[in-house]
């Protein structure tokens, strides 16, 4: 590859992309890889939050993002996009969900459409990283507890005091 492909135009993704794909070991080769990821993407669109191995989730994430971004870009009257949605979503009612629910939800987003979290591994168990992949704006309760506004954490208490002192000092300097 030494020249960009200009026949297609795509929107920039808001997630970090690996330089190369993962093979996701399977006996059917590159086609089998897509067939595998198809199930994951379908499940993601259907359930909006799924728990699975990290590698597969990370691969499927890019496809889900592109599927949504293309749907936003071209709308449901574009044949190629519809064909793509037909391939990637195994349950056909989800095609409606993609264009009627997800596109309006994500139209004005400036961040990525999906999120990924590291999930705990079962012990003893298979030594693969686990993860949770979800669509943003899903109806489930949030997975992370936002501690960033917790003023009662010790370092926040200390920093608050330091800040007050700093202000006082500044004011005193101004007064002189």
């Amino acid at each position: 590859m030494n020249q960009a492909d200009v026949s297609k135009l795509m929107s920039q993704l808001r997630i970090a992309i690996r330089p190369r794909h993962r093979n996701l070991k399977n006996k059917d080769g590159p086609e089998g890889r897509l067939l595998k990821l198809r199930k994951t993407v379908t499940a993601l669109v259907k359930h909006e939050r799924i728990e699975l191995f990290y590698n597969r989730a990370d691969e499927a994430r890019g496809y889900a993002e592109l599927l949504i971004s293309n749907a936003i870009r071209h709308g449901d009257t574009h044949n190629a996009t519809m064909e793509m949605a037909d391939y990637w979503l195994l349950e056909k009612q989800l095609v409606h969900k993609l264009f009627k629910v997800l596109v309006p939800r994500y139209e004005n987003y400036t961040v990525s459409y999906t999120r990924m979290f590291n999930a705990p591994r079962t012990y003893p168990g298979i030594y693969y990283k686990n993860s949770v992949l979800e669509l943003r704006g899903n109806p489930y309760p949030s997975l992370i507890v936002d501690q960033s506004q917790n003023k009662n954490l010790l370092h926040n208490v200390l920093l608050d005091e330091a800040r007050k002192e700093y202000r006082r000092k500044k004011l005193a300097e101004l007064a002189q």
């Binding site: 501690q147 917790n150 370092h155 920093l159 800040r163």
Partner: protein, 368 residues
């Protein structure tokens, strides 16, 4: 012995950083002295918790403090200060600013940002590699009499050289540990992502806080580039050493890319040391010597060196030194910081004379 080390540490300014240090004085201290003595800048760098749990008010407060401690004006001034930054050492007083070829100048830390072709005046195409010097600053200087590393580098007359610590690359100081930030106290620059030490002659020592940029090198000079080569992982002999392999057909089975014979029998019936075999390829420090600087661009701090064999991947870090090859070395008057004086006179973009500039009119081969 331990006491001696402690005094040395104090001399190096480490005692200031660590605050108080408890010295256990015991007998036979010479027996359990530390065998591995890392340089004083080998410290834990990153904090494990980078403040995700602080409230937004406190985050603003921390950023405010950072801006006050390392005010941007100070740092950017450092970038613009190009006056004579030579240190007034005893050696430099005796022989002002002329540095002959035996003397070593400071090196720089650069990033390999890619390659592209340029053309010579005779129409020949050459490949060039672009190296970007990423805001280098002198962090500290250790004079030769105080510089005693655990392992001396393989350099002639090593005890005549001092050590310059150079930092490169910006990083958010709130992510860093206190002791790592302490290294930069003397030079008053923002903490740096990367550090490297360079051996220099006392005549060529620079003040802490001096900025190094691409004007440190002049077009036509030669540099040595040290970098870590691309890691190819575990490879077979065909890729690693360029063995030919065996034919694809003609009765060959199962030995298309294998080593073949690795030695004789009899008395020499063993694998000789150094036999080329499969193994880890790349990821080694290599120095590519004697690359000519063909073009420099001051605005982006980029220099073009000839050839495409600079070790490391695109985006990798390399270290630049003045070349040690005797015929390409500058013979005389390699003045350590002459480039800083003349900075106002030089233009942004300097090309070697043998290069064809794209701005020039087209090139023609004339009838003789």
């Amino acid at each position: 012995m331990l006491g001696g080390v402690v005094f040395k540490l104090r001399d190096l300014g480490l005692m200031k950083l660590t605050g108080s240090m408890v010295i256990h004085v015991r007998g036979k201290g010479h027996l359990n002295r530390p065998r591995i003595r890392n340089p004083h800048w080998f410290l834990r760098k990153k904090l494990s918790n980078i403040g995700e749990l602080t409230t937004s008010d406190n985050k603003v407060f921390i950023n405010q403090l950072v801006r006050e401690n390392y005010n941007e004006a100070d740092v950017s001034n450092n970038l613009k200060v190009y006056e004579q930054n030579l240190m007034k050492t005893e050696a430099s007083i005796s022989s002002p600013s002329i540095v002959i070829s035996q003397n070593r100048r400071c090196g720089t830390i650069a990033r390999k940002i890619g390659e592209y072709p340029l053309w010579l005046n005779n129409g020949e195409k050459i490949r060039t590699t672009l190296l970007q010097i990423i805001d280098n600053h002198i962090i500290s200087y250790i004079p030769p009499e105080k510089y005693s590393p655990a392992h001396y580098p393989n350099v002639k007359n090593v005890n005549k050289f001092g050590c310059l610590l150079v930092g490169a690359g910006t990083i958010n100081p709130t992510w860093l540990t206190k002791e790592y930030c302490g290294i930069f106290h003397e030079s008053r620059v923002m903490p740096k992502k990367m550090l490297a030490r360079f051996l220099v002659s006392p005549e060529a020592a620079l003040h802490p806080g001096t900025a190094l940029n691409v004007a440190h090198y002049r077009v036509g000079e030669f540099v040595d580039v040290r970098g870590k080569t691309i890691d190819y992982g575990f490879q077979g002999v065909v890729k690693r050493f360029g063995f030919k392999g065996m034919p694809a057909s003609h009765g060959v089975t199962k030995t298309h890319r294998r080593v073949g014979n690795i030695g004789g029998g009899g008395e020499k019936g063993r694998v000789w040391p150094g036999t080329k075999m499969p193994g880890r390829m790349g990821s080694r420090w290599r120095i590519n010597k004697g690359l000519q600087v063909l073009r420099t661009y001051l605005k982006y701090n980029v220099m073009w060196v000839q050839g495409s064999a600079v070790p490391g991947p695109t985006g990798g870090i390399v270290y630049l030194y003045d070349t040690i090859l005797p015929h390409r070395k500058k013979k005389i008057s390699s003045i350590a910081s002459l480039s800083y004086e003349n900075i106002d006179k030089v233009t942004d973009d300097i090309w070697s004379e043998k290069l064809h500039r794209f701005k020039d009119i087209r090139m023609t081969h004339k009838n003789e």
